[in-house]
């Protein structure tokens, strides 16, 4: 009950933000955090929960953006275009992504990296120009509808991961992550669950792409396909805590704030710092920042009594 009240409070609070805060800067920050949360949660479903490390999420992000922009310019309302982008990303995944599951372990990672490189080269050649929002929309560009869409989509993503961690489906995913052969041996159809995980993941990635396209008024067609969109969610999810519900959110907040901090004079510093922190987390904190917090809490709770039991006090 307490949780539900807290959740309702957060949702209402987020819904009221644009009415209270008129500063575009704050809205921009929240939109960016939502965008990265969506993207890193999309990666988190496949990489964090199911343990299939993908370095090719930019492909699905990009196709979501591409189709969203196309449908939107054709005159579809933005929420329908968003669904279209998301579904097209799933279709692309079923064409090229599911066969990729013939690749196991690290082969999957480098195979998906190759896929995303193929995607960006192809898009650069097929669509060389700049993509613009529909002109009638551009004339009254406002952050408020984008804000609501961003928050909604990120709540959907977080809610989905939350539901997964509490369901049998999520358990199947986790069993594949922990030991694929053992999961197969106890009767889990690993291929089926990997496909489900990939489908959910690409649907969310497509939503993220649509969000990007709704937010950024004009960009080169290849921009959402850039490899950074594949790499950033890996960094964010690992630093926040892979396979957790809150981890990617915390990671995104840190990522966006660092990005803002260095954006003015040192454009790439945030990726540099995140790269270093990423390596440190892989070496010392396999559960990310969430794991660190849990460990600290435990130390606080058990620190004194533990030492009492040892007789060292």
């Amino acid at each position: 009950m307490k949780h539900i009240l807290l959740l309702a409070g957060i949702v209402i609070g987020l819904a009221l933000v644009p009415l209270v805060i008129t500063k575009a800067y704050i809205l921009n920050l929240i939109i960016l955090i939502s965008l990265y949360t969506v993207l890193s949660h999309s990666w988190n479903i496949l990489g964090g929960l199911t343990g299939q490390i993908s370095l090719g999420h930019s492909t699905f992000f990009g196709i979501g953006a591409l189709v969203f922009r196309y449908l939107w310019v054709m005159g579809a309302p933005s929420y329908l275009a968003l669904c279209g982008g998301s579904i097209s990303s799933l279709l692309l995944a079923s064409a090229i992504g599911f066969p990729a599951f013939k690749l196991k372990g690290h082969y999957f990672a480098i195979g998906t990296l190759a896929l995303s490189m193929i995607a960006i080269i192809t898009v650069q050649n097929l669509f060389p120009g700049v993509s613009f929002s529909p002109p009638q929309y551009l004339s009254k560009y406002s952050l408020v509808p984008i804000y609501y869409m961003a928050v909604t989509v990120s709540i959907i993503a977080i809610g989905l991961v939350y539901a997964l961690t509490r369901s049998k489906l999520g358990l199947a995913f986790i069993s594949i992550r922990e030991d694929e052969d053992a999961a197969e041996a106890i009767g889990i159809n690993t291929f089926k669950y990997k496909v489900i995980s990939m489908s959910l993941s690409t649907l969310i990635a497509g939503l993220g792409g649509g969000l990007f396209s709704f937010y950024v008024a004009s960009y080169y067609y290849y921009v959402p396909f850039e490899l950074g969109w594949s790499f950033d969610p890996v960094l964010i999810a690992f630093i926040g805590g892979p396979g957790t519900v809150i981890g990617p959110l915390i990671g995104s907040v840190c990522f966006v704030l660092l990005k803002e901090l260095f954006a003015i004079n040192l454009g790439q510093m945030n990726v540099l710092i995140f790269g270093i922190v990423f390596i440190l987390t892989i070496l010392f904190l396999p559960e990310g920042l969430i794991g660190l917090m849990k460990r600290l809490q435990k130390a606080k709770r058990f620190g004194l009594s533990g030492r009492l039991r040892d007789g060292s006090i």
């Binding site: 480098i110 190759a114 040192l266 540099l272």
Partner: protein
């Protein structure tokens, strides 16, 4: 006909470079199962080192191999000590995954450091023989490319001789076959891995000098890593002898792609081939079934 021969010869000249690029990665993967994807980043840093050194001294860049290679040996030594030594204890699958993630982080750090220090602009070392070609039967072969081929052959033969004819090379091969058995035979596995890893990064120096002679920027680190991975899978994981052939094959395939479709899709051919081989023959084209 001449056109085809020209494209193909460029493909082969590029292919020798690809072979060199993959050499260090292949050695490291063969000996300790580390998928060191930051290798492309090391090569890119070696290119900038060469560029710098050339800028101040104006000595022929090929001579810098003598300086850059030991420098990257030391860098590899430090990287192994700080980052990769702790991975030795993991079982094989974990080892590959963790080394992949760590070196992936390194790759991001390297390319962003390079952007920070040298900006994202394209640079190149311009020597007196840049752009000069020699004509063989009407086919134009640039001096730099020929130098690359010669270098690739020399380095690969030297590495092969080192691994097969010296005592330490024998130890490296023993470790690559079986860590535990090698320990039982009295080989200091940690030390062998450390040296092999350092040699692997020292081998980034040589292609680094070569890439500095053409236009390069921080983003080539990703392309180079990619090329190295493709060559690795063409040659079979961990095969030193196969690397030159794999590189030449990739060069020829790219040349074929350029001839059939055009330059913009040059990279795509190698990548598609890569994915297909990964799917149907993950042990590599020449590798035996595990």
């Amino acid at each position: 006909m001449l056109h085809v021969a020209q494209i193909l010869s460029y493909g082969i000249l590029n292919g020798a470079l690809y072979g060199l690029v993959a050499l260090g990665l292949s050695l490291v993967f063969g000996v300790m199962n580390y998928l060191m994807v930051a290798h492309g980043g090391l090569i890119m840093l070696a290119s900038y080192t060469t560029f710098w050194a050339f800028f101040y001294t104006r000595i022929d860049p090929f001579l810098f191999i003598v300086v850059v290679t030991p420098l990257f040996f030391v860098i590899g030594w430090i990287l192994f000590k700080i980052l990769f030594q702790s991975l030795m204890k993991f079982p094989e699958g974990e080892k590959i995954k963790n080394s992949l993630l760590i070196s992936f982080g390194l790759l991001l750090i390297f390319s962003n450091l390079a952007i920070l220090f040298w900006t994202a602009d394209e640079r190149a070392v311009t020597t007196v023989y840049t752009g000069k070609v020699v004509q063989v039967l009407g086919v134009r072969l640039p001096y730099i490319g020929l130098g690359g081929v010669a270098l690739a052959i020399i380095v690969i033969i030297a590495l092969h001789l080192f691994l097969t004819r010296t005592y330490f090379g024998k130890a490296i091969r023993a470790v690559s076959l079986d860590h535990e058995a090698a320990t039982l035979m009295g080989i200091n596995v940690n030390r062998v891995c450390l040296v092999a890893f350092s040699i692997g990064s020292a081998l980034a120096g040589i292609p680094g000098v070569l890439t500095s002679l053409n236009a390069f920027n921080p983003a080539i680190s990703f392309d180079l890593t990619n090329k190295a991975l493709i060559v690795l899978i063409l040659a079979g994981f961990g095969s030193i002898k196969g690397v030159l052939i794999g590189g030449l094959l990739l060069g020829a395939i790219e040349a074929g792609g350029v001839y059939l479709v055009g330059t913009p899709y040059r990279e795509v051919f190698g990548l598609i081939l890569f994915v297909l081989i990964l799917m149907f023959r993950p042990q590599g084209l020449a590798g035996k079934k595990a």
